[in-house]
Structure formats: C-alpha cells, structure tokens
C-alpha cells in the first residue's frame, strides 16, 4: 500500500487550497495593518508629547519662541520666531478628570438600565413589546452620535440654560444603554436553558434563578458589554461638544461645562501651532490607554471573581 496519491485532481486541489489560504491572509493583513499603524503612530507621536506637565497641568496658552514662558515678556536678545517655533505649555489634567467624571457617571446611569433591560429581553417570553424594544435599541445604537448630541442639547442644555457635565453624562447614557442591553441579552441567551430549569426545579422563584444563577454564569460577557459601552462613551466627541462644551480649567462641577479628552484632541488638532498639534496626539494616546487600562482592570477582577 502506498500513501502517495495519484489522483488527477490532486495538484489542482492543492492550488485552490493555497490560493484561498492566500486570500484570507491578504484580507487579514488589510484589516490588521492599518490598525497596527494607527496604534503605533499614536504611541510614537503621542508618547513623545507626554511629560510630567502633561498629566499635572491644565490648559495654558502657547508662547512664541523668544518669549519667557513664565512672564510672557520678550526675552532680550532673542527675536520672536515663526509659528513653528511656538512652545506648547500646560497639560490635559482637566480633560482626563472631565472624561472620567462624565463617562463614569454615564456608566452608572446606563449599567442598571441596560442590564435590567437586557434581562427583560432575554429572560421573559417574547411579546410584540419585546420586539419593539429590541428594534428601538438597535436603531438607537446605530444612530449618528451627533443626533444624540442634538437631543442632549435640546432636552437638557436648553432647558437648564447651561452646558454641564451632567448633560454630557445623560447624552452618553443614550449611547451606552443600547450597547449594554443588546450584549447582555445576547450573552444571557447563551446560558443553557438546563441551568435555568435546574434552578427552577429547586423551587427557586424566577428572580432568584435569574439573579443568582443565570446572571453570574454570564457575568464575564455582561462585563465585556459594559466595557464596550465605556470605550464607546469615552471616545465620543460630537455629543460632548453639544453638551459639556469644553473647559480650559480643571473643574469638578458636574453642573457646569467640563473638559473631555476627545474635545481636547479636536481642539488641539485644529490649532495653528504644530506644538499644540502634538498635544492632540498626546491626548489621543491617553484616551487609548485609559480605555485599555479599564479593560485590563475589569478583566483581571472578573477573572478573580470567577475563581
């Protein structure tokens, strides 16, 4: 007996196999390469903008070269230079604080709403009402974020007469709830029905079975949904521009305009001074690290809870 093949079609089958594998490889590269380039560029350019002031200072106006940064007076013997010689000063502490305050507040609003709505959709029998909620949720999660910004502006900023952190948090809640709802629902549907039946067969009421058996089984997935929502909320610019407006100073007042990292990125990249453009990459870098850090933190904690 021989293991060699003498099948006529064998060379052709091998060629087709190789060609298809090549196609998948190219497609993967097309998807991954730009992503890696973006991350690398943010890391390199943004990383270069980082220093102690960047994390500890708030906005300070840039100064032209030849001007003393402390006094703002021209230094004798030096000539005022061109725009490319302008020195950036200050940092984005106000943006970090603002983003954390607004996004975490939004998360506190949207977690209970989103998770409970997800439980309702997954655990209770389907009715036309459920289908309606699911449809609304999908539409809302696909809505352009500027629309959410306009809604926040009209409903809260116009009514209260001021831009405020709380308005931003509410606008982000509109964005985050659908994500949390739908991921919670999908994950809960993956929990085998046998687990629910085992709990019910012990004479557990529905709420007990859901809260102490079904939801803990799906906890990691629900947390992932919350993280996705957090990342989306932290990165949004349009709704925040129309609700928290931005602030050049450090502020902890949720009822007044706040700064946020995406807004600072937008502002700095628009700046005519190359030095401030670099700060934009720095803020982008911090924003990415923030999302990554929260992601890691939550993953480590849930892994520990599971054990």
């Amino acid at each position: 007996m021989t293991l060699e093949t003498n099948m006529l079609t064998y060379p052709r089958r091998r060629r087709v196999d190789k060609a298809l594998r090549g196609c998948t490889l190219v497609a993967t590269a097309l998807a991954i390469v730009p992503l890696v380039l973006i991350i690398a560029y943010v890391l390199i350019v943004g990383g270069a903008a980082l220093n102690r002031d960047f994390f500890t200072q708030t906005y300070r106006p840039p100064v032209p070269a030849g001007v003393d940064p402390l006094t703002g007076l021209p230094i004798e013997g030096m000539e005022e230079g061109d725009l490319s010689q302008v020195q950036a000063r200050g940092g984005v502490l106000h943006g970090i604080v603002g983003t954390l305050m607004v996004t975490i507040t939004a998360l506190l609003f949207s977690l209970p709403i989103g998770i409970l709505a997800g439980i309702f959709l997954a655990e209770y029998p389907d009715t036309p009402f459920n289908t309606f909620i699911r449809f609304c949720s999908d539409v809302l999660s696909g809505a352009p974020s500027i629309v959410i910004g306009v809604v926040g502006f009209t409903l809260i900023v116009r009514q209260t007469g001021t831009y405020s952190g709380i308005a931003g948090a509410i606008a982000l809640t509109f964005l985050m709830v659908p994500t949390i709802t739908r991921t919670t629902e999908e994950i809960l549907k993956l929990v085998p029905n046998t687990v629910r039946e085992a709990a019910m067969a012990m004479g557990a009421p529905m709420w007990y079975s859901t809260l102490t058996v079904v939801v803990p089984t799906a906890l990691t997935g629900i947390v992932t949904g919350a993280l996705l929502a957090f990342a989306r909320g932290a990165g949004e610019t349009a709704p925040l521009l129309l609700t928290i407006q931005g602030n050049s100073n450090l502020s902890f007042n949720m009822l007044a305009p706040l700064a946020a990292l995406p807004i600072l990125t937008y502002k700095y990249i628009e700046s005519p001074f190359p030095a401030e453009n670099q700060l934009a990459w720095g803020t982008a870098f911090v924003l990415m690290m923030l999302v990554l850090g929260v992601n890691l933190l939550v993953r480590i904690t849930t892994a520990r809870i599971k054990r």
Binding site: A201, G203, T212
Partner: protein, 272 residues
C-alpha cells in the same frame, strides 16, 4: 411564604400522586391524550416509550415544570397526596420544592462550589444556620453516595467533577430539601455504564424513603429498578402526532405478559 388562606402542601410519611385527566398542551397542540396515572408510595414508577411519545412532558407536568416552556400549559387534576397542585393559589415554586426533579444532563451550577451546589436549595427554604446547613449538606451528599469522593474538596467548583459525579451532585441537591416525591428525567442517558450502575443502586436505596418517578429510554433499566411501568406510544390524530398512555401495570407483568401488542413490540425492540 405560604399565606394562611392559601392551601398548603401538607407533609406525611409516605407520599403518593394521583393524576386524573391530565392533558399537557404546547400552545394549542395537545401533546398527550388525557391520561390517568397513580404514583404509589415508596415505589419506583418508570415511564417508557419511543421518542416524542410525551413521557418527559407528563413527568414535567407532575411538578409544574411543563408550564415553564413558552406557551405550554396543562389541564386536568394532579394531586400530591390529597392536594391538587394545579389548584388556584398554589405556588409552583413550593410545588417544585416538594416534588424534586433531576434532569438528563447533570447540572453543576457553574458559579457555585460543590458545597453551595447542595446548600442552595436549603438556603431557598430559609435555612441560614451554618451548623444545620453543614449537617444537611453532608447528609445529602452521603445519601447520594458522593460524600467520600468530595468531602475534601467541597470548596471546589462543581465543574471539576466527572459527569457521573455531577449527576449524583444534582441528586444530592434535590435530596437536600427532602422532597416528598423525586422525578428523574433520563438521569443516566448521558452517563457511562459504571456511573449508570451507581445511580441505579442509589435509586433503589432512595426508594425506601421516597416515591420516585423515572423517565427512561433504557428498557433494561426500567426492568431492573422499577416497581411499576407505564408505556407511552405515539399515535397519529389527523396526521398530528400525539402521545398516548397505552398500558400501566407492575413491571414484571408489563415485561412478561403485556396486554397491548404494541407494548410487546416495543419492549422486544420491534418498534421505537
């Protein structure tokens, strides 16, 4: 939880069930034709029959698990001793505590360790005292012939156990609350022969204290362990299949001199 005005589920030493005119439905479709059945105290009643004959459906009607399937409901009379468990005002959750159920696939609750897998039913019943919990968990695990294998790893996840051990863990969880009746839905069909043997020995020892109803695909199993056997068949009713209880009697008689020719065909392997 029981309110004085509601009928409560009384407990006595030997428990029986009476089924009269039970009709389980899925939506508008009748799953099994109206049937009468008696579950006698301290006996094992086996429900056998080909797939789709409704034996599991009937079993699930006995502790009101059937109605958890969307759009499913049951009509008729099912009595635990002398209380109709379908009477208005009866709490299905309390019924399920009195009539425990073990499923085909062993279920170890993933988020709980072995101890808590057994204690969960007791906690539901309102037992909070640590010493009492310890005693009853140990007793349940001993009764389920599992104690010696897990006594040193009660804090480990139930998922760490083998399939047969997980099934005995499920049984321990059901025994722990000391139900009046125990229902088994093909408890051995996912297990190897040795684990199956251990579960069968366990069922026979449990019979001394409990009344047991078991659904099984394995006719030898029914012959080995049951006192009485009920045989179900599928009939076509206007082209819609519907389950029918064709015969019920002492196991010996069902397997030696069945009255219905279809029973003989089924147990001799000619149909089903």
């Amino acid at each position: 939880m029981a309110v004085a005005t509601q009928p409560t589920l009384a407990t006595q030493t030997a428990h029986s069930m009476t089924v009269r005119g039970l009709k389980p439905f899925y939506g508008k479709r009748l799953a099994v034709q109206a049937l009468d059945l008696d579950v006698r105290p301290n006996q094992i009643l086996a429900l056998i029959g080909p797939s789709g004959c409704g034996k599991s459906t009937v079993l699930r009607c006995l502790n009101r698990m059937h109605e958890l399937v969307p759009y499913a409901h049951a009509e008729g009379l099912v009595k635990l001793d002398d209380i109709n468990i379908y009477a208005p005002g009866i709490d299905p959750a309390l019924v399920r505590r009195k009539i425990g159920m073990v499923f085909q696939l062993p279920i170890a609750l993933r988020t709980r360790n072995i101890y808590e897998n057994v204690a969960v039913g007791l906690r539901l019943g309102g037992i909070k005292n640590k010493a009492e919990l310890d005693t009853r968990v140990e007793k349940a695990l001993r009764d389920a012939n599992l104690w010696d294998e897990v006594k040193d790893k009660l804090h480990l996840s139930g998922m760490a156990l083998s399939g047969g051990q997980q099934q005995r863990l499920s049984i321990a969880r059901t025994i722990a609350v000391e139900p009046d009746i125990m229902l088994f839905d093909e408890p051995c069909s996912a297990l190897d022969p040795i684990s199956t043997l251990r579960i069968e020995e366990l069922l026979l020892s449990l019979r001394q204290r409990y009344t047991i109803v078991i659904v099984t695909h394995n006719m030898q199993q029914a012959a080995r362990i049951s006192d009485r056997t009920a045989v179900f068949m599928v009939e076509k009713n206007d082209d819609i299949p519907v389950g029918v209880l064709i015969e019920e009697g002492p196991t010996e008689q069902i397997f030696s001199t069945p009255k219905d020719p279809r029973t003989e065909d089924y147990i001799s392997g000619r149909v089903g």
